[in-house]
Structure formats: structure tokens, C-alpha cells
């Protein structure tokens, strides 16, 4: 009933959306892998980053791709500060408290944005917003292709950072063995904050890559974060490669099931995968045994 060309196009579109999902999931999985916490504020922070990109464009005509250079360091600093001065001290090291504090942050950020920007859905107009690239018989959206390339580039950069730099090594050391890392003289609170900052920086890049072809409103992050949770669980909590592959896969599932079931029911496919993975294999497909 659907021609192979249409299915193929849905798969490609899904891959491109999935790459940005992967980037969002990357931030989430990084924080989970090191701090062992689920950051419920991730979606709200993504919304905040998207509004930051939007505001820079409206106020100073900054191109969304250029705004990466501004928003990314800003969100790194924000994430660092949040973990160091709010989440860390407020939760007294208790997992359930961390869950509650990040939930509180998410309520605070989301509704703060609602109070400032109101509930209107906004987009930014860029001349290339609807550009397409011809690939054989297919027409692919240019901003989405850039999103794919950008996400993959960030994933590679992040991986290089983790493998090559001293800070990256320290992060991995803390993730593996917190006590041992402390005894080696690593400042764990500092590493935690850096990791949280990196997670937020991923969101900033994702926001800038999304904005040319997507919209923003105060609740937009929720939809993304549930997808990101699914990806993280699917890919294995804490696994960078898992997040990347999981993101691409979920993007495809969403796109194809949206084609077959319609937009609103299409999301069910994602949640069912989420629930099934949690119930049957909570360590994820690529995750190590818990």
C-alpha cells in the first residue's frame, strides 16, 4: 500500500530527526553515566536553550547556527552552576532527592518561560528554512541534513574529549569508581558539575540545530525529553554509542509509525518500545549489566 520510495523517504527523514534526538539523549546519558541520576529538567533546559536561540535571533538577528557559539558556552556555565550550587547541595546525595530537585527545576524553568514568553508557539524565519537538497529522486530538507551532520560531529567531538583529554579521563574515572577517583585527588563535585554542563551544552547545540526547521513553545521540551528517555534506556544508560544508535533508530520508528498510524498514534510506538525495554531489559540493548 505504500511505495518503497515513500517508506524510504520516511526512513531518511526519521534518521535526520533521530540524529537530533540522539544529541539530546547524549546529554541525558552522559549525566546518567557519571552522576547516576535521571535529570528530569533536561526537557525544560532544552526548551530554555531553544528560547535562547529564538531570542538571539529576534533581538540581534543572530543566525541560529552562529548562535551555537554563544548559547553553548552559556549553557555549559548554566549546567555547571545548577549542579554545583543547586542540585548537588539540595539533594544531600540521595537519588530520590535528586529526582525531586530536577523535577522542581523543570517545573520552575518551564513555567518561568511560560510567564515570560506566554504559551504562543513561535518559529524563526531564516531564508534557508525550506531549502531542499536533491538526492536522486528524493528531496531532503537542508536544515535537517545540517542537523544530522551537526549531531554526528558533536558526538564525535564529545567522544574525542572523553578519550583524549585529562578532564575526559577524570569524568570516566568518576563514572567508574567514585571513591577511587576521589582518592586519586579528583575533585568529584567539580567533575559532576562539568558533566552536567556538558549535558546542557549538548542541549544548546541541539536547540540551535532544531530551530531553523522547528518551533518553540514553553512545553516543547517535554515531547523531546520523553523520546530522549526512551533512547537512553534503549541504548543503555550512560552509553554514548548507545545514545547515537538509539536516537537514529527511534527517529526511524517514529517516522515510519507516524506514516502508518498517523501523527498522534505514531508516538505510541515509541512509548511501547520504552515500556518493553524497561520491563524486559532495563540495562538497554547496548548497556553493561547493572
Amino acid at each position: 500500500m505504500y511505495s518503497p520510495a515513500i517508506i524510504f523517504e520516511a526512513v531518511l527523514n526519521g534518521l535526520m530527526t533521530g540524529a537530533v534526538y540522539a544529541l539530546i539523549a547524549l546529554g541525558l546519558t552522559l549525566v546518567y553515566g557519571v552522576l547516576h541520576i535521571i535529570n528530569f529538567a533536561h526537557g525544560a533546559l532544552l526548551t530554555a536553550a531553544m528560547f535562547a536561540v529564538f531570542a538571539l535571533h529576534v533581538a540581534f538577528r543572530v543566525d541560529p547556527y552562529v548562535s551555537i557559539l554563544i548559547v553553548t558556552p552559556l549553557f555549559f556555565a548554566l549546567g555547571y552552576g545548577l549542579q554545583r550550587f543547586v542540585i548537588g547541595p539540595a539533594s544531600h546525595g540521595d537519588d530520590q532527592n535528586i529526582l525531586l530537585v530536577t523535577l522542581g527545576l523543570s517545573i520552575l524553568i518551564e513555567n518561568g518561560l511560560l510567564a515570560i514568553f506566554r504559551s504562543d508557539t513561535r518559529t524563526i524565519d531564516v531564508p534557508y528554512g525550506f531549502n531542499v537538497v536533491e538526492v536522486g529522486p528524493l528531496l531532503l530538507s537542508q536544515p535537517k541534513l545540517i542537523g544530522l551532520a551537526g549531531s554526528v560531529a558533536v558526538a564525535i567531538l564529545l567522544w574525542l574529549f572523553m578519550v583524549r583529554t585529562d578532564t575526559g579521563k577524570a569524568i570516566r574515572a568518576v563514572a567508574k569508581e567514585r571513591l577511587g577517583a576521589t582518592l586519586m585527588g579528583i575533585d568529584v563535585a567539580h567533575i559532576y558539575a562539568i558533566t552536567f554542563g556538558l549535558g546542557c551544552a549538548c542541549l544548546a547545540v541541539a536547540a540551535a540545530l532544531l530551530m531553523p526547521s522547528f518551533y518553540v513553545n514553553p512545553r516543547v521540551g517535554n515531547a523531546f525529553v520523553l523520546v530522549a528517555f526512551t533512547i537512553v534506556v534503549l541504548g543503555g544508560m550512560g552509553s554514548i554509542a548507545g545514545a547515537l544508535i538509539g536516537g537514529l533508530f527511534i527517529g526511524m520508528v517514529e517516522s515510519v509509525s507516524g506514516l502508518l498510524l498517523g501523527e498522534s498514534l505514531g508516538q505510541i510506538g515509541i512509548f511501547l518500545i520504552f515500556i518493553l525495554v524497561l520491563l524486559l531489559r532495563p540495562t538497554g540493548l547496548f548497556g553493561a549489566k547493572a
Binding site: 535521571i38 540521595d94 522542581g104 517545573i107 504559551s119 498522534s264 511501547l272 520491563l279
Partner: protein
């Protein structure tokens, strides 16, 4: 001690005082507010049983609220069932959904953050289904016909609704207090504090958790059914939206998780604070929720045992805080 484990006489006293409120000649807006606080308190009492006493943090109590609400609405609108029977059916089905979700997640060994995530996902699945299925009225929602008569669970006076809500909250207060004094309550707390140790001591962990989630879901479903009966309108975002999962959790945590009076106190404090904020800040959307978020963080940081914990310094150390 008095507030943490209130004697029955104190509970009855509090309920009597609250029951007198509508007799003060309050305007309808005030009664609306008080009714809403009680609905949130009831939903929070449900959350508190599994989350507060049992340590099973659900982020998806909207699933039970929504099933309770939609069951009674659909039975009345589509099948002409009596509203009171529908109310009972809503509670029963809500409880059953709690049992099913609990069975699946507890048998899979999901705890802590994972349990929070899976409950959230279940609620979202129900929300999307309710938004698409014809029987729920889809995105347009479902309207219960206005037909004011006690037999239809509809009353001209808001005070009657208030008293019904208060009776439900009161019944759960007393039930909670009884549970605290029985083995079941002790088992729940034992599981919260250390599941492995509880199992080693012979507690049937799965059975206790399943009883807790079923009862918890029934209570929150009652809140949903009551909501439907009062506002006579539902859509997927109201019934299954994340707002109610968050409200239920906030009421219990802020008042004092694992305490009898916590959810009622928490719901009252939060919404009181929300109203004051709205008065002070004017018609800025979301401003009351900004305050909720800040209060949640402050409570976790400075009053980890909730507002009630601030008044019960006496039994410090009697119940160690949970470890993840």
C-alpha cells in the same frame, strides 16, 4: 510526634473543623478553591501510600486519576449507568490498572528512577490513547450531561461536593492511620528503607508492593472520578496529563511523605501559596507553578521530611531517610 502520628481524636477534630467551613457563608469561588484542594489532597494521599510509605516514587499517577475520571464519565454518557455506580466502577478499574502496572513493573524489578520513568510512560500511553480513541470523545473531550439531582451525583450546592470530598479525604486519613498501626504499614516502611533486608526478614515484598499500588491507585482514581463529577468535562490532557502526577507527588512530598496528614497539608499550603502568588503577580500564566517548583527544591534542600517534619523534631533519627 503528635502531627507525625496523629491520634484518631485529632484527625476527627481536624475533619470537624474543616466540615464547618462551608457554614461560614463562603462565596462560591472559595468553595471551588477548597474543593480543588481536597481533590489534590486525595490524589496526593493515593500517591503517598505507595510513594511516601512504600518508597515507590511514581511519576505517573495521572494514569489512575484519568482511569477513574474517564470510567465514570464514559459509563454515564455512553451506557447510561448511574453516576454513583460509575464512581465505584472508576475506583475499581483505577485500582485494577494500578495492579496491572504494578505487576509488570515490580516483577521486572524496576525501582527508583526506573519505576518513576515506567509509570510516566504508562500515563503518557493512556493520554495518547484517550486523545485518539472514539469512546473517550477523542481530542474534543467528553461532556457529562448537566442534570442536577442527588441520584446523578450532581448537586446545586457546592458545599455538598465539598463535604463529599472531605468525607473521602477523611476516610483515607483514618485508613492511613490504621495502616500505620498494622503490619502492612510496617512492611511498607521496611521495604522503603531496605528492600533486601525486608525480604530477608520474610516480608513478601511483591505482594505488599502490589497491595500498596492497588490501594494507592484506587484512592487517586477516586480523586479523578470526583473531579469528573464536579467539572462534568474531561479531555486527555486533564485526565492523563502530567500536571496531576506532579500535583499528587508535590502535595505528599511538600506536606511530608509517609505521614498521615502530609498530603492534605501539602495540597493546602501549595494552593494557598499559588493563590497568593497569582494575586500578587497578576494574570501571569505559570507564575504559581514557578513558586511550586521553588518550594519543591527548598523543601528537599531544607526540610527533607516535608513541612510536617519541621514541627516534629522530637523523633529525629527514629526513621532514617531512605537511600537510593
Amino acid at each position: 510526634m503528635l502531627l507525625r502520628h496523629p491520634p484518631f481524636a485529632l484527625l476527627i477534630g481536624i475533619l470537624t473543623v474543616l466540615a464547618g467551613l462551608p457554614l461560614l457563608g463562603l462565596p462560591n469561588t472559595a468553595l471551588n478553591f477548597l474543593f480543588f484542594v481536597l481533590v489534590i489532597a486525595l490524589a496526593g494521599q493515593g500517591w503517598n501510600l505507595a510513594g511516601g510509605y512504600g518508597g515507590q516514587f511514581s511519576f505517573g499517577h495521572a494514569a489512575f486519576f484519568g482511569v477513574g475520571a474517564y470510567t465514570t464519565a464514559i459509563l454515564q454518557v455512553r451506557y447510561g449507568v448511574n453516576a454513583w455506580l460509575g464512581f465505584g466502577a472508576g475506583i475499581a478499574l483505577g485500582s485494577f490498572v494500578g495492579f496491572v502496572i504494578g505487576s509488570l513493573s515490580f516483577r521486572a524489578g524496576l525501582r527508583g528512577s526506573y519505576f518513576a520513568l515506567v509509570t510516566l510512560a504508562f500515563a503518557e500511553v493512556l493520554r495518547i490513547l484517550a486523545n485518539a480513541a472514539p469512546i473517550t470523545g477523542g481530542a474534543a473531550g467528553i461532556l457529562i450531561k448537566l442534570d442536577v439531582a442527588p441520584a446523578n451525583f450532581q448537586f446545586a450546592s457546592r458545599a455538598v461536593f465539598f463535604w463529599i470530598a472531605l468525607a473521602l479525604v477523611g476516610a483515607v486519613l483514618i485508613l492511613n492511620r490504621m495502616i500505620e498501626q498494622r503490619r502492612f504499614g510496617a512492611y511498607l516502611v521496611a521495604i522503603r528503607e531496605n528492600e533486601a533486608a525486608a525480604r530477608a526478614l520474610g516480608v513478601n515484598v511483591l505482594a505488599v508492593k502490589l497491595q500498596a499500588i492497588s490501594l494507592s491507585a484506587a484512592i487517586t482514581a477516586a480523586a479523578g472520578a470526583l473531579y469528573a463529577q464536579y467539572f462534568l468535562y474531561l479531555d486527555a490532557a486533564i485526565a492523563f496529563g502530567p500536571w496531576i502526577s506532579v500535583e499528587a507527588l508535590l502535595a505528599a512530598i511538600i506536606g511530608g511523605a509517609g505521614t498521615v496528614l502530609g498530603p492534605l497539608l501539602g495540597a493546602g499550603l501549595l494552593h494557598g501559596l499559588g493563590e497568593i502568588t497569582k494575586l500578587a503577580a497578576g494574570r501571569v500564566p505559570g507564575i504559581d507553578l514557578v513558586v511550586y517548583g521553588i518550594v519543591l527544591i527548598l523543601v528537599v534542600a531544607f526540610a527533607p521530611r516535608g513541612v510536617i517534619g519541621l514541627f516534629t523534631k522530637g523523633d529525629k533519627g527514629g526513621e532514617p531517610t531512605s537511600h537510593g
